[in-house]
């Protein structure tokens, strides 16, 4: 009998991308918040923005909403958030 193992997982094809550099301070930056439509997620995001901006106020805070928590944000929405902000805040609260 053949004595060999076969890996069932398949290859993942993905491009390597570097992380964006960390910002030293949010002071004066434009913050975009992406709401995933879940109420606990919204609480986490709002509280996080509040804490982040307490000492170093943002220039602006703009809120966006996904179509549904269960699907990726549309490319157009992601592009808009990127164009209108310096920082984006996302998170999950189930």
């Amino acid at each position: 009998m053949e004595h060999r193992a076969y890996d069932p997982r398949g290859i993942v094809h993905a491009e390597h991308r570097e992380l964006a550099p960390r910002v030293a301070s949010p002071l004066g930056l434009r913050l975009g918040i992406l709401d995933n439509t879940k109420w606990n997620g919204r609480r986490v995001l709002e509280r996080t923005a509040e804490l982040l901006g307490a000492a170093s106020p943002f220039a602006s805070v703009t809120r966006y909403t996904k179509e549904s928590f269960s699907v990726n944000a549309e490319d157009a929405l992601i592009a808009r958030i990127a164009a209108e902000n310096d920082l984006a805040l996302i998170g999950i609260g189930d």
């Binding site: 060999r4 193992a5 076969y6 890996d7 997982r9 094809h13």
Partner: protein, 383 residues
């Protein structure tokens, strides 16, 4: 590139351990080896051999490196070789391959939202329902204990789907699969419609296909909830019992709409049909009579602070008023009706879905598109 290898990705969490060629000799006990690699659903797998893999690939059309799909959320590439490896591990015969492939391709459509189903905290699992001549060709069970154990085709087709979601899709419980509870259908959840004991056109014919077509329907589903009714001798009595099973605000459909399935046992189906009810009549009756009030699904606004009301997920045209009736799903067409089970027994089942975050998909086994446009109401003219 070989199965299991990564291409340009540096993630350590999911880095492949070993490609399929050049493997170090595994321990003597291959079954234990697959357990140790976490290449299992928790049950022993059948260790693949090259001959068994080749037999499945041949049924799929050859070309083992042909990519059939990419399985989320991990994003593994499901080549025919990888599909075959998982099918052999599940215990499938090669002739099951067209059904497994069609089901996977249906799961990978955008509207099915496999990424969401894999990752959700809900318990949903893909339920497969197979129609057409292939049911007999591969020996599927549409009769007694249809959701239960005992049939190789039903059991291993559903198991192959789960293994692919685990291994290629990375749906490991607690990791990318965040289901709080899961359910037993996450081992295998695959049935055939009992077309022979159904008084109506088969499901796939209702949806515009020909009786000689074979098709698979996939829906993200909770487990079946039994519906007993030994007393009614008319459609209304049987259907009111199903309405009762549907009319709770505990399942996802009640608060998030979407689609559900109803599986009617042959005895119940005969009683319903004797009252002159068509498939459309059944779905319409269930839709019209099953439901909750807005007050029930919103808990009379007891938790409305902070927007904690099941609101946005439901259609805009539902009245948000305490006594307004809220149907279980938006339209009668969102109730997917099948006849299945053994000839004896006055039982049916209600199967809730995940919600509007997913839409079920019906796909022909051969991949061909059904004729455009409705053939006729209930599909009966296609018979």
């Amino acid at each position: 590139m070989l199965a299991g290898e990564w291409s340009g990705m540096t993630s350590l969490a999911h880095r492949a351990l070993e490609p399929n060629a050049g493997l170090a000799p595994p321990p003597a006990d291959l079954v234990e080896h697959y357990f140790e690699q976490a290449w299992s659903d928790g049950l022993p797998v059948v260790p693949p051999t090259q001959a068994k893999i080749d037999a499945v690939v041949a049924v799929l059309g050859g070309d083992p490196q042909y990519a059939e799909a990419v399985i989320p959320p991990r994003g593994g590439t499901l080549t025919r070789e990888v599909l075959a490896v998982n099918m052999v591990m599940a215990g499938c015969k090669p002739e099951y391959a067209p059904v497994v492939r069609a089901a996977i391709l249906a799961l990978c459509t955008k509207q099915w939202n496999l990424n969401g189903v894999q990752a959700t905290t809900h318990m949903a699992a893909p339920l497969l329902v197979v129609n057409g001549p292939i049911r007999h060709a591969i020996g599927m069970n549409a009769g007694h204990n249809v959701f239960g154990s005992g049939n190789r085709a039903n059991a291993t087709i559903g198991r192959a789907i789960r293994l692919i979601l685990l291994t290629v899709g990375g749906g490991t419980p607690g990791d990318l699969d965040k289901s709080t509870l899961g359910h037993p259908g996450k081992y295998t959840y695959c049935i055939a419609e009992n077309e022979e004991l159904s008084p109506w056109a088969p499901y796939h014919v209702e949806h515009g296909m020909a009786p000689e077509d074979s098709a698979v329907f996939v829906i993200a589903a909770e487990p079946p909830h039994s519906v007993v009714n030994h007393v009614a001798n008319d459609a209304r009595g049987i259907l009111d019992s199903i309405v009762s099973a549907m009319s709770t605000y505990a399942h996802n459909n009640a608060v998030a709409g979407g689609s559900c399935a109803v599986v009617i046992g042959p005895e119940h189906a005969a009683t319903i049909a004797a009252s002159g009810f068509s498939r459309l009549d059944v779905r319409s009756y269930l839709w019209m009579n099953a439901g909750n009030t807005w007050g029930e699904i919103s808990f009379d606004d007891r938790y409305a602070g902070g927007g904690k009301v099941y609101n946005k997920a439901l259609p805009k045209w539902y009245q948000r008023e305490t006594n307004a009736r809220i149907p279980i799903v938006e339209r009668p067409d969102d109730i997917h009706l099948f006849v299945a089970g053994g000839a004896a027994g006055r039982f049916s089942a209600f199967i809730p879905g995940w919600g509007r975050m997913t839409s079920p998909v019906l796909r022909r086994i051969d991949g061909a598109e059904p004729p455009a446009g409705a053939v006729c109401v209930d599909g009966t003219c296609a018979l």
